[in-house]
């Protein structure tokens, strides 16, 4: 889960991590009163959208006076960045930057740890730095039961700064950023750029945080910040039924048990010349209630011309699955052709039960998918 920069900044402020003074606004008049209230002269107006590349899209503008700030706010509020409409901006002090750095804490799959990542190459995309000049990026794995002792925080800060006064400011910031990560179950806390101002202050000029979805159950405050877009709302609705759903835009709706098999089903549809409408994992079991809810979800997509049900019956036997499908389709009336492929325990019995029903029953995954593609 992602949050806006201004929300990240609020979390930073609370942890005592220095940020540029600023305020979130939803209209031009709010921007102007914030500009005055904060006593700003040179200031920056930043679009608040849940995507990267704001600067390149023209979503960040600097103004030297009230008129320029007003013009910037008018230009940015309402603009579209990667399909998202900007409904909020942050107006903030435009600090005089002497140097820019990169700093983050991230969950690292390979180290199986949280890793501190730092570089003197700040303000640019870190992936680019990593690809072109990997030697300029430092990574330090963190022991979870130790955290960041003073020496380690100072060692890290000294990798960024030559002046000891900056190391002294920086190491506390590093420790506080880690505390924030643990306290909020973040999977990423990124400051890019971390800047040194011309008057010698260290400031987090951006605040990017991602959170672990698995931990939201114990982070009610973070969860309350979630702003799903239209696609994510459908995904969330599916999740409340115990499904994992992703809309893809094709014509063959898929219902599969298990994420890996669901991905493989999509891939094979493409391989056989069709277009999958979605990824849908209905989970381990396949009781009638679940099938009904999943069908409703698939049929709500008007692009769907064929439905493909691919179930591996393991612990749940195929004859039980077939019984469930038949009873589910007593409740759902649809003209859309349905291809069912059951495999696993008692598959013959399961397929036998589907004979004489309107379903197209197939034996192998390849056969089922070929049939579905033909029926589009």
């Amino acid at each position: 889960m992602k949050i806006h920069e201004y929300q990240g900044k609020e979390l930073f402020d609370r942890m005592g991590i220095p940020t540029a003074k600023g305020k979130v606004c939803r209209s031009v008049s709010e921007v102007l009163s914030a500009y005055e209230e904060l006593g700003l002269e040179r200031a920056v107006v930043k679009a608040q959208v849940l995507t990267g590349g704001r600067g390149k899209a023209g979503g960040i503008k600097i103004g030297n006076n009230r008129a320029e700030i007003e013009a910037a706010a008018k230009a940015i509020l309402g603009m579209e960045i990667k399909g998202l409409i900007v409904d909020r901006v942050m107006v903030a002090e435009a600090v005089e930057i002497a140097a820019e750095f990169y700093f983050s804490f991230a969950v690292d799959r390979n180290a199986k740890s949280v890793v501190m990542i730092l570089s003197r190459e700040g303000g640019v995309e870190i992936e680019e730095v990593a690809a072109k000049t990997p030697e300029k990026i430092h990574k330090i794995p963190i022991f979870p039961f130790v955290g960041i002792p003073d020496f380690l925080a100072k060692k890290a800060a000294a990798m960024l700064f030559d002046e000891w006064s900056l190391v002294n400011q920086g190491y506390k910031m590093i420790q506080n950023l880690y505390k924030l990560m643990v306290a909020t179950d973040a999977s990423l806390v990124e400051v890019n750029p971390l800047v040194v101002t011309k008057d010698g202050r260290l400031i987090a000029l951006d605040a990017k945080l991602n959170f672990d979805d698995n931990a939201l159950f114990r982070q009610p405050e973070i969860e309350s910040l979630y702003e799903p877009d239209e696609e994510e709302k459908r995904e969330l609705e599916a999740k409340s039924n115990g499904f994992s759903f992703v809309h893809l835009g094709g014509e063959i709706g898929c219902m599969v048990n298990g994420a890996g098999l669901a991905m493989a089903t999509m891939d094979l549809i493409k391989l056989y010349g069709g277009k999958p409408a979605n990824f849908l994992d209905i989970g381990g079991s396949s009781n009638p209630r679940k099938v009904i809810e999943a069908m409703k979800l698939l049929l709500s997509d008007k692009e769907v011309k064929v439905v493909l049900i691919n179930i591996f019956g393991g612990i749940t036997r195929c004859d039980d699955v077939a019984r469930g499908l038949i009873s589910a389709f007593n409740e759902i009336k649809t003209e859309i052709p349905i291809v069912i492929r059951l495999t696993g325990t008692n598959e013959k019995e399961g397929r036998e039960m589907l004979k004489g029903t309107p379903f197209h029953s197939a034996e192998t995954m390849g056969e089922a998918i070929k049939r579905a593609v033909e029926l589009v």
Binding site: F217, A259, G260, T343
Partner: protein
């Protein structure tokens, strides 16, 4: 032989009085796995399907001399359960539970490693050495003893592949579901190394999916250290970027983790990569 578990492995079920824990404890026992006990705090002294229930892991290990445990407790309690198992002397911990907070898992894993224990999972179907021991939620009847090792990030896709193998007369030495989370326990390289060293494994099937670069790392390892033939299928070739495909770890982010890169790396390492899971048995028969 097999890897990690065999007919002598003694298993404890953590969370044996829960719905899933209880159901699968009975299923595993029925398969022939030596389920020697289970834990459920406050319910010590009871029996589940003839299996003794203990209050703590320490007591359970003392009474049964178990070496392996399987965890079914709810996600919020997994961190504690892993540490309890490791502290009690268990050497292999299998975590079935889905939805474990990442920072919990990272901490528990550090603790387990310090105690000398290994972990498989979380969010995995467990593992099986067919005909010897099943420690997980896999349907035992689709497996058959044999000489092909299987490693997979997925559940039902593994069953699909194994089912095809079994029907083609290709049995399995051990099949391991390493789980769908971004941070997990034993992973491709650990298991490739074990299968390479197992005299009863002739070939290896590796089922991967989008997200992270573990398949690429495995490819580099195979190139230098694995002489047995490796066969692979990578799921998620049609997955869009920045969308989580069911598994917490199955996501293409910041331009990395796509299926194309993984397939290219594996092919460059001499791995036979198929575009349909059903094609694996014929490829194995042709090469082994």
């Amino acid at each position: 032989m097999s890897i990690l578990i065999d007919k002598n492995s003694k298993i404890l079920v953590q969370g044996i009085t829960g719905r899933d824990g209880g159901f699968h404890a009975s299923k595993m026992k029925e398969y022939g796995t030596r389920i020697v006990g289970g834990t459920s705090p406050g319910k010590g002294g009871a029996l589940h399907d003839g299996i003794p229930v203990f209050n703590t892991m320490t007591l359970a290990v003392k009474e049964t001399a178990a070496d392996t445990s399987i965890i079914f407790v709810p996600a919020a309690f997994v961190k504690d359960a892993i540490m309890e198992a490791a502290e009690s002397g268990i050497k292999l911990i299998i975590v079935i539970t889905e939805g474990v907070p990442t920072l919990d898992y990272i901490a528990a894993r550090h603790y387990a490693v310090a105690m000398g224990a290994r972990i498989i999972g979380p969010n995995c179907p467990g593992l099986i050495s067919p005909g010897k021991s099943l420690v997980g939620i896999m349907p035992g009847n689709i497996f058959t003893p044999g000489r092909t090792g299987v490693i997979s990030r997925s559940g039902t896709l593994t069953y699909e592949v194994v089912y095809n193998l079994t029907r083609a007369g290709i049995g399995q030495s051990t099949a391991v579901g390493i789980g769908g989370d971004p941070v997990a326990g034993l992973y491709y390289i650990d298991l490739l190394q074990m299968f390479q060293g197992d005299p009863d494994t002739d070939s290896i099937v590796m089922i991967g999916e989008i997200g992270g670069d573990a398949e690429e790392r495995a490819a580099a390892f195979i190139k230098d250290h694995v002489t047995k033939p490796v066969f692979s299928f990578i799921a998620g070739q049609t997955a869009p970027a920045d969308k989580r495909m069911g598994h917490a770890g199955a996501i293409i982010s910041s331009g990395t983790g796509s299926a194309r890169e993984k397939i290219a790396a594996l092919e460059a390492a001499g791995v036979t990569v198929v575009d349909e899971p059903a094609k694996i048995p014929a490829k194995i028969k042709a090469l082994v």
